[in-house]
Subunit: 497 residues, 2 copies
């Protein structure tokens, strides 16, 4: 039998990806403009399309991947990487029966809607049966994938290939052991005033400022757009069509600014993917943690740096009714980096943030191994928050109901947020070495060199290497917690000087 | 072999329809919010999905339809109608090879974008190669379908099952023979002043007024939305998710109002379709002409009636800077029904409108039988417009480039607009008989009875009968030009009193 060409695989993958693109449009629409009464129809549409997509992977892509794998040693190096990685991914994905994929898509479309309503009503009971349904399906999913020591690993591996809870335990213990004393130490210092940031600013002025920020960063409106949604997100429908959403709250300009920078980082990654290899490892994002490194590096390493704040200072001051009278760029920088425990993860500072992730990581493992029941989750949430951060949430809306993730079936996902921060710090250190004038460029509002660096080292590399291998290639070593701790200690030395 | 149940057909049809729904979302997105640089990706997505949809019709739906057809006489009457109609539709649709369906979806997504740009630039040459490509594909399509006397019939039949150009020739000759003298006669009368309608009104006030109109008519925002697009349209993604778009021009409030009423009529039909039988004749719109009857009946028979104008008069007067000082509801009614040739179809009055349709009908037949070349189309357009209406367009943007239809491959479509007006007049006469207080209800802003009448007689009937049979069932006779002519003559007697 004549073996198929890589070109035939490439074309088949693009066709399968067309269907994935369509699902992305449906998801984006659901979160932005879809009339609320259409939710049941949308759940059915996404269920059917997910099932078809799964079948196409099995019937169209897998046979080609298998045939190419059989003669892989004779192929060019990059093609070898594509074929091996694709075959590995498909082997895992196709362990799921189509019925489970369809059921999950339908259940999560419905659950996401229920979560929005439950959060608005501060009523966990409205969401509980949906969460139970998703947990049941996730149990099933984990059993299909298989795992060595615990069910959680099977799900974690979907977001962070090769990672296990045992490895995470080490990383998180390392982080927690350093962060908890640091938080306690900072709490003893004279406190930073950030109250001047929370003044009412008209939503349309905020919106215009956010769009202006995007343009400064190099956002291309021919290939992207920004809208309003309940929970800010970014979505890459195609490298030529990336979209982000934001929230605008009258008394919290900075929430909009930093969620915009965050989603910009994600969207820039999607925009930089190789459109010629859509649906193949070469054209896909590496992993969730590397994706998150791209949002964090723009939000925190760039956005919350002193040079960037200095660059934005004049524009920010002009937005405030009192012109931030007397407050300097350094004051704004310090206010933006203030460390103070809060019950809501997305408002957390860079230091306490990881304890929010550790909370979710603990509870998800317990939900999955059956030692925690859905009914007991709100209390467990509150107790763990208090243990880790010393505070209680005011209610379930800002406690157990705060995150969209469980409603979309994203169990095993949260650790990638912390890993993303760690990778961001390590990449940032490398970028500062490779681009010696980087900080001066930020202060001057010049971002092209840094975008180029990210594209060269990360965006254009797709998923040909796993996170750890990519990090090795870029920085010469695997992931180290020390880069993040050095970065955060240096920053805190200025913030709490 | 055990025959499949109707229930299994119903479920399969719903699944196939999920994919069609997804394509509708992609089309809606393309016309509203999609970043312009994503057009190539969108064309590929729609191409792939169209091909898959076609294959599902062939591989999943047709075998079930064939098996049920073999024992159709033993089935309940309504199921018989569904099975026979579905089989007829599928037999026609499946004459097209999948490659042609995919090619058409891709070509039209690209052509629609090119048309928008060509129209904005007033440059037919930009659109010509796309039109040629679509004509080539339409030739191929017509040959696949087959036809008795001319290629045009094969395409017309897709929009208006059973209709032929020969039949249309008769209807159009009848219309033209009565309308041309009427237009000439009205031109001799003292002219109606409508200049007071064209005053600047802020776009946001117009937009709010348009949404208010929709609410008065019974629009359900839980299941519908309105947006802005280059060309107003309506789309039924699902009976629970219907969307319309409009255009707002500062100096033309009435263009927005009447396109809103028009699209509302289409959307109400889609909203009223039987969701339990999606993808089956029982859950589909009857035909394009019946669909158009629903938009026309709201736009013209309701919206341009004296009782409705009287109901809206106060709200309209409040929008105008000068409060329409001295102008009465009757003056507004007369202005809204003024007859005056214009080069642009969508701005045409109810009388001259049909000559625009006849123009397109003539040119399309010539394009399809090869007697008119694309390069000669702009001149032919202008000459025919002058022959029929005695005017010339200022340029191609308001001439040959004015309509979206050819760019989306809708050849054979235009006649359904005129047929829609004729059906609307005939249905309206029947509704006035069945609901003796209908005009008084309109004057009081009460629309529930009329909505109920439409739902009972038309929306809920789906596609179980063809247009002519449906008209028979509702009015006791097939389509008659006389109802429209009686309606228009009665109206003109008041307008030009």
């Amino acid at each position: 039998m004549v073996s198929p060409s890589f070109e035939s695989l490439r074309q088949a993958a693009a066709r399968v990806q067309d269907l994935a693109d369509a699902m992305s449009v449906l998801s984006w629409d659901q979160e932005t403009y879809m009339p609320p009464g259409a939710i049941a129809a949308r759940a059915a549409q996404l269920g059917t399309l997910s099932g078809m997509h799964h079948r196409m992977l099995a019937e169209e892509l897998m046979p080609l991947a298998q045939q190419l794998l059989a003669q892989v040693d004779s192929l060019p190096a990059q093609v070898q990487l594509n074929v091996r990685q694709l075959h590995r991914q498909l082997t895992k994905t196709l362990k799921l029966p189509e019925a489970l994929v369809t059921a999950m898509a339908t259940a999560t479309a419905e659950a996401q809607h229920a979560w929005e309503q439950a959060r608005a009503a501060n009523d966990f009971a409205q969401f509980a049966p949906h969460l139970q349904r998703i947990l049941d399906l996730k149990h099933e999913e984990a059993e299909c994938y298989g795992y060595q020591s615990e069910r959680y690993d099977a799900l974690l591996d979907s977001y962070e290939p090769g990672m296990t809870a045992t490895q995470l335990d080490g990383t998180f213990a390392n982080l927690q052991d350093q962060l908890v004393p640091l938080i306690q130490e900072l709490a003893q210092r004279p406190q930073v005033d950030d109250s001047f940031l929370y003044q009412p600013i008209a939503q349309d002025r905020q919106w215009a400022y956010g769009l202006g920020l995007l343009e400064q960063l190099g956002w291309d409106t021919r290939h992207g757009r920004q809208d309003i949604s309940a929970h800010p997100f970014s979505i890459g429908i195609h490298p030529s069509d990336v979209r982000i959403t934001t929230l605008v709250k009258e008394t919290d300009l900075m929430a909009m600014v930093y969620s915009t920078l965050h989603e910009f980082g994600h969207a820039l990654y999607e925009r930089g993917l190789d459109a010629e290899h859509r649906g193949l490892p070469q054209g896909e994002a590496c992993s969730l943690s590397i994706h998150e490194s791209q949002s964090r590096i723009w939000e925190n390493n760039v956005g919350r740096s002193l040079p960037y704040v200095q660059h934005q200072y004049g524009a920010i001051a002009a937005l405030y009714p009192d012109g931030l009278r007397g407050r300097t760029a350094l004051d704004v920088f310090r206010a933006l980096n203030k460390v103070a425990p809060t019950p809501v993860r997305i408002y957390a500072d860079e230091v306490t943030y990881h304890l929010h992730v550790i909370l979710r990581y603990r509870l998800e493992r317990q939900l999955l191994d059956g030692t925690l029941a859905v009914a007991d989750l709100p209390q467990a949430w509150n107790d763990t928050l208090h243990e880790l951060l010393g505070i209680w949430p005011a209610n379930d809306a800002e406690g157990v109901l705060q995150d969209v993730h469980w409603s979309i079936g994203a169990l095993g996902y949260f650790p990638t947020y912390s890993l993303g921060s760690l990778y961001a710090a390590q990449f940032w250190a490398q970028a500062c070495q490779d681009l010696p004038t980087l900080e001066a460029q930020l202060a001057a509002g010049q971002f092209a060199d840094f975008r180029g660096w990210l594209h060269r080292h990360i965006h254009s590399q797709g998923r040909l290497y796993d996170s750890e291998a990519l990090c090795q290639r870029i920085t010469g070593q695997g992931l180290q917690v020390s880069y993040f701790m050095d970065y955060i200690r240096a920053k805190m030395a200025v913030v709490y000087a």
